[in-house]
Subunit: 407 residues, 2 copies
Amino acid sequence: MIRFDIVSQGEELVSGSTVDTNSGWICQKLKERGFTAGRITVVGDELDEIRDALSEAAGRSRVVICTGGLGPTSDDLTTEAAGHAFDRPLAEDPTALAQVEERYLARNRPMPPANRKQAILPAGASLLENLWGTAPGYRLDVTTAAEPCHLYFLPGVPSEMKRMFEAHVLPDLASRFQLPPKRTLLFRCVGLAESEAAQRMASLVQPGVVVGYRANLPEIHVKLHLDPGVDEKPLIADTLERLGDYVFTVGGGPLAEVVGKRLEARGETVATAESCTAGRIGADITSVAGASAWYVGGAVVYANAEKVRQCGVEQTLLDAHGAVSEPVARALAEGIRTRTGATWGLSVTGIAGPGGGSAEKPVGTVHIAVAGPSGTVHRKIHVPFDRTRNLQMTTALALDLLRRQLG
Amino acid sequence: MIRFDIVSQGEELVSGSTVDTNSGWICQKLKERGFTAGRITVVGDELDEIRDALSEAAGRSRVVICTGGLGPTSDDLTTEAAGHAFDRPLAEDPTALAQVEERYLARNRPMPPANRKQAILPAGASLLENLWGTAPGYRLDVTTAAEPCHLYFLPGVPSEMKRMFEAHVLPDLASRFQLPPKRTLLFRCVGLAESEAAQRMASLVQPGVVVGYRANLPEIHVKLHLDPGVDEKPLIADTLERLGDYVFTVGGGPLAEVVGKRLEARGETVATAESCTAGRIGADITSVAGASAWYVGGAVVYANAEKVRQCGVEQTLLDAHGAVSEPVARALAEGIRTRTGATWGLSVTGIAGPGGGSAEKPVGTVHIAVAGPSGTVHRKIHVPFDRTRNLQMTTALALDLLRRQLG
């Protein structure tokens, strides 16, 4: 058991203006590699506080990941605090200075004098190059009460921190602690509850395989962490059989991207007719850059008059069945398909809540339809959350119904 | 200066499956009341770790807020850890037990035997009733090295924690430390940078008034915390003069709700024609429950052919100026207004990135138009972020252009 601590530095974290998302991400990465989480300590811009947090963490753990406080301004104090904590004089590191200058050169700008501070490191530090920002990171090996501790100092900006962690920290830890190489298989599911996924996977017990779950609504992620030598192929087949077609990708991107890639490969397009979701499906689709290759647009048919005008839904149909009904969902999907000339028409009509429900059609009742070259399919769902999450889940399940038509 | 610490307990927080949003929220609330943040310590389900975190926090701060670990299962260890940390024997509290039983009675269910554990408190604890869940909270007053420390134990579920914090902890702290009652004025702005807001407010210096800023993209929040006796009226007028019509509400709801209320009061409606935002404005509008009173729907005109078909944009206009242009934005707004019969037509066409830019129309170029009873207004903006944030900012600025037409 190798224990790690995290020290997360930033006044914005203790003033409540920013949520510390770095620490959880780091915990997950290190846990996947077999490390055991000790404490996360979050401190603001107080030199003594940072110093104490660093030396206490180093006294408790073999590995300490420190994020934040490596910037050029006077309230960036982490390096100074590390110097105090471990009795290391600070000095400008020429290689670090060259790297900071290089980042500015790459942007055709001279390095501001203040940034020179970012090249000052505690004695004995090993530089970790930052290719994604100006603050170099470093590793510091110290010996506390009993055991040696390796401290890794990284910038607090999440995008830079994550890249440096993957590029420098993980490989360094793997060689230092002789960790076996790990592979992770990620199964992304939609429409399946986390408890149901766990139940389906429960009897998959195999040495060298650790199964993890994560609800990332509207998705559920099932992860398999494999030791070296474990054969992926039968595991993937077994897992797919257990989770069924709730899995929309193994290791791939979000649902809209999966749908988009399939449509693009088939040379097909889709148009949307959204009532309750009111644009959320279009927004989700166009979060994929390049969606114009397979998405033409569509209609937001919030008012019933718009269902008639934009999709040619018959008023008699609305009168007979109500807007939230299978016939109207089908008519919307077929109408938008015909009018736009897209290969597929995707429609949604439902009651997102909190109001608008009835005994016959309670809040959460949603009808989805997909019209395509060989007819129209329909699905009635019930979403049980609040308005926001109901609409989010509906959006995912609508895209998923389309995915299931694409083979 | 009264210093506080937070101890946030939960295995899910150190395994990375849940982000600790409680601590930041608590920091903000206590900072607003004049307390100074010390450290946030996050620990998992290790008894000794929790015990140490609690006793160390109590040794550093006058106030410690502890969240999590008050549930009925065997891995809920906070109370046991508190007993160890402060040498307090644990005993079942009859009032606490009655409260847990009452929660179940209210749901017409018998209390499971396991939940009896939630009524066990450290000796000397003062009960804090939980009206929103089964885990009672409590306050524990201890004396460490020098000063007395007040520890507040609350459940980790954010909705319960927040309500108990507002109902019990804040009033208790206010009376204990004789805090003056505070009022907060919240000015919500859109289209103004945080630094610009701070610059405009800089010379507002007045005893009993503390100004705070928060970037909550696409919004900027400016908060005035007022001591008792400070007159609100001239301050509001002064602040509105400084921030100008970037303020869309003082103390009110989100932008879409403000727009909706104004439209509803005027008995008017709006329809949308979205190109790059592709439904995000419709989604934002319909995040307001009851939006059907003032929103009819509209068109997602992602492909140029849809701009022609759904809004009657002339192909010659598209050929001459391109889709991302003032004339096309105007034609979209006017087209959707005429076709839907809505009072207002709101349109957006732009380049969200990462691709699609040119020297003449770089990524981030967006044209917005609002067509109304007395003509059409247009605004060209440039959004400088990544695709996701560009579209988020564009959505807000589009709604804001409509707001500005509504007087």
